[in-house]
């Protein structure tokens, strides 16, 4: 581990000191003041300037009334500003709550009320927002100040939508961020010589990625398009060494009509959903570089990464990184069962309803819901899922949430939502609907869903059926995909 690790431990020993992740930037700025931290199409931001912007913006946040313990929503596109404002929120000891850009207004309102947000920082004006800078607005929500963090040094709450039966909001403390960065970098080995090509939404990926890279003095190049040509062109221009993208982006790269190569790249990581084998093969053949699948889980961090055999075992997420242990629970005769993980830097609590890590995993093992097997050499293979959550191109959709919307429509008696395997995007969303009366219209139902849900959660297909299978014992909707096996 590089220098700041020891520095951190010294600080942690001071009794009154609370770790704050802004120290990571301060430390990098001291060591590499002139080295580029972020590169965009039209700007290069050195570490010194980045740290100074964070200090300056933190002062502004205080002037706008942001206080320690506040929970502040961040609805902002990938940009230098995204990084500045998140670290500035940490600097004033507020908790950052990323809000994906694709969220509908109803979903944002749900996040505001369930997590008790104190303000939202956004790219576009909202309601009573005031402008802090061009393209940067703050909406004060005037919630009564209630520190819902139970004394925890909360850095981050990642909202995960779902139903009342699903816990919402994964809370991570600064200490946790620190621990999981150290654990992840034992595999990634990011250092100041690295340049990472970045295209995934920061609202979904930030800690063991952006924060980790900046803590190690790497340069991040923001690509404003995920299409193959700009991605390859940026990689060539900035001499990118690390790629972190989704299977679909790798498919575009592997099949692009372009003479550009990836000669400078030392590590290409595929994340967010299962990598189709033809994409892995075509990428490796074309660029003469392996494509490593990783397993990142918001509650845990980066648990597995296929560094050891990405070519011959490209369907594996690899071995666990050194600080993690993995185990198969309730294995069948073939050794398949639920993947459990133990290790450092796990989530601290679920924010709503409040539940601590110790309450959720008293034995220290987190049950991932993934059905997996581990081969004799320790490689983990994901085979399917125990839960019914649908993964479309890396976006998670909880069937119960979509069913609840469908069931509110006057022509719907009941509904069942499930995922259907798709060769390119992981899964599609399908729904079966039992109409309550004649005249139920599929397009009208989709329109109704669009008015209530983020657009990507609207079922791709709706089938009108006469009945939905239920379990005889409990009357719950029978989910034939309760154990979904990947094709």
């Amino acid at each position: 581990m590089t220098g700041w690790g020891g520095f951190f431990i010294l600080l942690q020993r001071r009794k009154d000191y609370r770790v704050n992740s802004t120290e990571l930037i301060t430390s990098s700025a001291r060591r590499w003041p002139d080295k580029p931290a972020l590169i965009t199409d039209d700007a290069v931001v050195p570490y010194g300037a980045l740290a100074a912007s964070i200090v300056e913006f933190a002062k502004q946040l205080q002037q706008w009334g942001v206080k320690p313990g506040n929970r502040i929503g961040v609805k902002y596109p990938n940009s230098v500003w995204y990084v500045v404002l998140t670290f500035a929120l940490w600097r004033v000891e507020a908790t950052a709550v990323p809000i994906p850009l694709e969220c509908s207004e109803q979903e944002i309102n749900s996040i505001i009320s369930l997590l008790g947000l104190d303000a939202i920082i956004s790219h576009h004006p909202r309601g009573d927002s005031v402008s802090m800078a061009p393209g940067l607005f703050i909406t004060n929500l005037l919630n009564t100040p209630a520190n819902g963090n139970h004394g925890l040094n909360a850095a981050f709450i990642r909202f995960t939508s779902g139903t009342t039966s699903v816990r919402k909001g994964v809370l991570l403390c600064h200490e946790t961020v620190h621990d999981r960065i150290i654990a992840a970098n034992k595999g990634l080995r990011i250092g100041p010589e690295d340049t990472v090509i970045w295209c995934l939404p920061m609202s979904h990926h930030f800690l063991v990625t952006i924060v980790l890279y900046l803590s190690q003095g790497a340069t991040i190049a923001l690509v404003n398009s995920t299409l193959a040509h700009p991605f390859l062109e940026t990689t060539r221009r900035v001499r990118g060494t690390v790629l972190y993208a989704s299977p679909m982006q790798y498919a575009w790269l592997a099949r692009a009509n372009s003479a550009l190569d990836l000669a400078t790249v030392r590590l290409a990581i595929s994340t967010t959903y299962t990598l189709p084998q033809d994409v892995a093969e075509e990428f490796t053949n074309r660029f003469r570089r392996p494509l490593s699948q990783g397993l990142g889980i918001i509650e845990l961090g980066l648990v597995c990464l296929n560094l050891d055999d990405p070519v011959h075992r490209s369907d594996s997420v690899g071995k666990p990184l050194p600080d993690y242990r993995v185990r198969i629970f309730n294995a069948d005769n073939g050794g398949c069962g639920e993947l459990g993980v133990s290790g450092p830097g796990f989530f601290d609590a679920y924010a709503h309803p409040w539940a601590t890590r110790e309450e959720i995993m008293p034995d220290g093992w987190f049950h991932t819901g993934d059905i997996a097997r581990i081969d004799d050499d320790g490689f983990v293979f994901l085979l399917g899922r125990k839960t019914a959550v649908i993964n479309m191109a890396g976006r998670k959709i909880f069937p119960e949430e979509v069913e609840a919307v469908l069931n509110r429509h006057p022509t719907v008696k009941e509904s069942r939502v499930y995922g259907r395997a798709h060769a390119h995007v992981g899964e599609l969303i399908e729904a079966e609907v039992v109409p309550s009366r004649v005249g139920a219209d599929v397009e009208e139902l989709r329109e109704f869903c669009r008015s209530q849900l983020a657009a990507f959660k609207v079922p791709n297909h709706i089938h009108l059926v006469s009945a939905i299978a239920r379990t005889s014992a409990t009357g719950k909707i029978l989910r034939p995909d309760t154990v979904t096996l990947y094709e």
Binding site: L101, E102, C199, S225, T226, L227, A228, H229, P230, M248, Q249, A251, W252, A254, R255, A256, N257, M392, A393, R395, H422, A423, H424, V425, L428, E447, R450, A455, F456, V458, N460, H461
Partner: protein
Amino acid sequence: MSEPRDVEIQLLAFLRREVFSPQIIVSEDTDLVAAGFDSLSLVRLLLFVEQTYGLWIPESKITAEILRDVRSLAAAVCTLLHES
């Protein structure tokens, strides 16, 4: 066989209905990326084209040029449909 004009109309209706917010005015020659068309929009567009025309646009064809506006997108979809 689908004609470019019909495909344009269908794609425009889809984008207005399912991708862009009502405040954003989209026509055949609106710059899609400038209007806020992102990677998630692209995934949903690909699925719409697959569902409507039975065509998965090959990855090699997905370029900034065909995604420039609805007119070039519709032309590309029609060419691919004729080829298949």
